[in-house]
């Protein structure tokens, strides 16, 4: 590499821009979390300072724990996300295997049909989805959400996974066939373990929009027993608008689990994006 590309002023300039943007990206999050640990007076008097021994206060968190049913909401979110993820990965991988492994009539058409959902958002069908859920008695159940999110996640999962499955060596699969493995065994024993990195990428991509969705919980499952964390936080904050301690604490509680998960999975996510999973 030539020296021109790494000259000192240019490096400093690059760091200055990136650092500035990093500050812009993190500032709101930090302000919210920091202020959630302060007393009401301190929140207003000096919003930009860190909590000190005098201003430290957990009253907001106490209010949230006493009022909102956040543990229940959290369980609901977790159930919906994990179940949807399981079905998206299992069904998506099975369909991707069929599309990438076998040549049959209508293969291309089937691929296009499944890819349609990448571009057309499922939200546009909401009116009829609600009717469907009412007709089948699934309104205000977590099953309704799992079904919708599974359908929403499948197109991208099939698309990405079939790209990866095409790369699995044919010799390996044929060796399995000669050894008398059934097609199902070839899929579950040989192919699935080999595409595990791609599955992780799909999992992260599928998980974030499901966890953060507000639209479908609001429409399909708004009851107290089935509220997800996102909807619960939205309703709670709406009711406690003037209680700043409680609002800031609720926001922090909603941010923290996602942040923790992100720090565990960020490497996987970024590698997934940059390895050309989305071309």
């Amino acid at each position: 590499m030539s020296k021109a590309a790494t000259s000192l002023p240019r490096t400093i300039g690059a760091h200055a821009v990136l650092l500035t943007y990093t500050l812009i990206a993190l500032f709101p999050v930090v302000v919210i979390v920091v202020n959630s640990f302060k007393s009401r007076n301190a929140i207003f008097r000096s919003p930009l300072s860190l909590p000190t021994a005098e201003t430290f206060d957990l009253i907001g968190y106490k209010t949230v724990m006493a009022q909102g049913d956040f543990i229940q909401y959290f369980q609901n979110s977790l159930t919906v996300t994990v179940a949807s993820l399981f079905f998206v990965l299992l069904f998506g991988a099975m369909a991707a295997f069929a599309l990438s492994e076998y040549r049959f009539k209508g293969n291309t058409m089937m691929g296009l049909y499944l890819a349609l959902g990448i571009m057309i958002p499922i939200r546009l069908g909401t009116v009829a989805i609600l009717q469907l859920m009412v007709a089948s008695g699934l309104v205000n159940t977590l099953t309704a959400l799992v079904l919708v999110y599974t359908a929403q996640g499948l197109p991208l999962a099939v698309f990405i996974l079939s790209e990866f499955m095409k790369q699995v060596s044919d010799d390996l699969k044929n060796a399995g066939r000669i050894d008398g493995l059934s097609e199902y065994r070839i899929f579950f024993r040989l192919v699935l373990p080999l595409v595990r990195p791609a599955m992780a990428t799909v999992a992260v991509f599928t998980m974030i929009p499901i966890w953060n969705d507000l639209w479908f919980p609001l429409i399909l499952a708004p009851s107290e027993a089935t509220k997800t964390v996102t909807l619960g936080a939205q309703v709670f904050i709406g009711q406690f608008v003037t209680n700043w301690n409680a609002v800031l604490a609720a926001l922090s509680l909603a941010i923290l689990p996602v942040l923790i998960l992100y720090f565990f999975f960020s490497r996987q996510l970024i590698r997934g994006i940059t390895s050309g999973a989305v071309k």
Binding site: M1, A5, R10, T11, A14, H15, V17, L19, Y21, T22, I24, A25, P28, V29, V31, I43, F44, P47, L48, G92, M94, A98, L99, Y102, F104, K105, G106, M109, M110, Y113, L116, G117, M119, I120, I122, G125, T126, V127, A128, Q131, L132, T150, A151, L154, S182, Y184, I208, L214, W215, T230, A233, W244, A254, L259, Y262, S266, I270, I273, T274, S275
Partner: protein, 313 residues
Amino acid sequence: MSQQSLEHSQDRRPTRWHIAVFLAPALLVYTAVMILPLFGTLQLSLFRNVDNAQVFAGFDNFRTLFGDPRWSDSFWNALGNNTWFFIIHMLVQNPIGILLAALLSSPKLRFSAFYRTAIFIPTILSFVIVGFAWKLILSPLWGVAPNLLDLVGLKSLFVPWLGKEEYALTALSLISVWQFVGIPMMLIYAAMLSIPDEVIEAAECDGVTGFSQFWKIKLPLILPAIGIISILTFVGNFNAFDLIYSAQGALAGPNYATDILGTFLYRTFFGFQLQIGDPNMGATIASMMFFIILAGVCLYLFLIQRRLRRYQF
């Protein structure tokens, strides 16, 4: 569908049931919960509820939507706002994303993993968090924004942006940009990493470096990625709802200044205040959104994507 295709391939080989077994679950869920409701919604937009019975009404709902001033004013207002929402994303989000990616992709930059991780954080947060966090920060009651402006001596510039009709939509668009800048950044970054070193080295041998290298060598090579980002932004924006709903409520205030198609659909479908919900008109608006998104996607697939030159290395 899979059944049919199986029958066709029957001529030589025995029926390969496993293909159907592999395809069936995904196909079933996808068709039942996504494709059929999409068409169901299109169909509902052609019906009208008369005495608790659905009556075929032809294009009457669309005529109401465009002909009745009470509906058409709201619709054009929402569509106009949505277009402005999209324009701001294209003009602010994508250039910033490209700039950050260009800086990140320089090979000897230190801490680039840290920057990538940090800048992507807003993208993983939910709209509810983002909407409320910014609402608090921009609130004149709390003074974070005025205090910050005071630090640089610009306190007089502070306006309660989210509460003013003329600024609210732009402010919300910029908040959405803040949240999603990580996506164009990552996709462009990936595209830039896939440019082979030889191309860059050849450019440097010819004395093309720095900005002109970005402009003449890298930018043409990442154009397909920019195309994909544009269409993703388009679909995302014309389907947006959550951010406006959490920051401004279903009424998309002040005075509908931040009403976009998503919130308009929600209000029409579910009703608000004194107006009761109307599934048929809701379906009509959803159908219009469907046609707008479909038109955008087709435009991209048939006009833009074909003209983008792809380079094979």
